[in-house]
Amino acid sequence: MGTSKFIEVQHAEMVFETKKGSFHALANVNLTVAQGEFITLIGHSGCGKSTLLNLLAGLSTATDGVLICAGREIAGPSPERAVVFQNHSLLPWLSCFQNVHLAVERVFGARESASRMRERTAAALALVGLSSASAKRPNEISGGMKQRVGIARALSMEPKVLLMDEPFGALDALTRAHLQDELLRIVAATGSTVVMVTHDVDEAVLLSDRIVMMSNGPAATIGNIVQVRLARPRVRLALSHDELYIEYRARVLEFLYERQARPVREAA
């Protein structure tokens, strides 16, 4: 298992059969992700970013092509590829603790004691700074906190890969910035491999090792990849004046708004 090819996507095709006929969502997608790498997928809405993420999660199956994670073909969803959903998807009848514990039990239930698993759950909540809210139900906490519980749930499984589908998309700008900083800290601490879908250019540059820019659909594919060579740990305020940061940002914007400018009929 080479660490440089931890995740490998070869010639992935995705065709959806809809009532209006077949829709070619992804065409010939090729991508490799190294272990410990932070990748963001960016592109206009409808370009198939989430489709690609769902393929990696195993929630849907590629029409053609091969997807490999840690040397094994991705045949379905698995706790080793944890997903943080856009809408947090916490179960409203369970407390934050129970929501996380559900995942912990599933992954570690067979080999660890109950008290050890409770420790793991508490540790995951502590990692996202929510120890004090662990007894609360999801409807009693804010949107940002819910999303953090979602991240805690994903991290608690000690996944090989963390897949995030616009995890901060529904949050206000300040909360989003705060969670991005926390994510940087958490990823630095755990060394996770992350694939994250976003439509926020600053988020992409701040977080990523590489930014995968996708062309517009139908038959979307990877248009270009930007290697972000900014030293870590990254500090938001310092970066905003960093020349490299500004250049990366410009390159992504240029790709999105000049080369892949949204067709007028779609934008309307």
């Binding site: 929630l59 409203p92 559900l102 409807n139 949050l171």
Partner: protein
Amino acid sequence: MNATLESSTHSAAALPSTGGRAHQRPRSERLASQGVRFSKRKARMRGLALAVLPPLFGLALLVLAWHIIALRNPGIPTPRVTWDEALRLFSDPFYRKGPNDQGIGWNILASLKRVAVGFGMAAAAGIPLGFLIGRFKFLAGMFNPVISLLKPVSPLAWLPIGLLVFKAADPAAIWSIFICSIWPMIINTAAGVRRVPQDYMNVARVLNLSEWKVFTKILLPSVLPYMLTGVRLAIGTAWLVIVAAEMLTGGVGIGFWVWDEWNNLNVPHIIVAIGVIGVVGLVLEQALVALARSFTYEETGS
């Protein structure tokens, strides 16, 4: 007066967005939110009056209409006569003078017992079946035509089959309660299972939960409100059906009691029985509504 009116029109214009929802709230509250101030006691009195008066007027109208009909129709007892009769009946609801002459309390309890048994068996069979039908497409395809075919059949049409199989009146009546309560429970449970949000099922898939965990942690809690709707519909129908079934089977029970009093030409008792049946049905329904409310979880928007 002028000032309050003015303030109400002003803030109504300033807060157009609350208009849509505001219509469902009582008028006093709506006006209060628009800046009109009632004195607190006045507002409370008004709320109380609005809650109590209309139902009282409705009931009064019913009694009045009944009284007029009774005056023109000597066969029908007046409300006054019926009331006195009801007081007499309920002064001793639990007497026993042989199998065919028992207090109204025993009759109600006998009917409730039949409903409870038939209904309980229907829940025990129907809810799991509903889960299976909702969860597995194959079973849905298998059972849906059968359910569609049998659901519109009056439960009383099943009574002869019950008599034939069980060779006794009591199990036959329970059998028709079973038949009539099982359909709403199957259908609503299955609908609830189908409507479990895909997000929750995706969580289950990513966590790779066992079928048992999926059931206890995701399906059951999210289906519970639908299931309880089914239960509520079922108990309504069951209470309708028991009266008719008992008229046919005899024995002890509120339906039989109505029929018995008809044979005695004791019309006041029949009217008392109608009232009792209505009240018991209402209580059953309200109890289940309260139960359903306590199990309905708020959707968690982000």
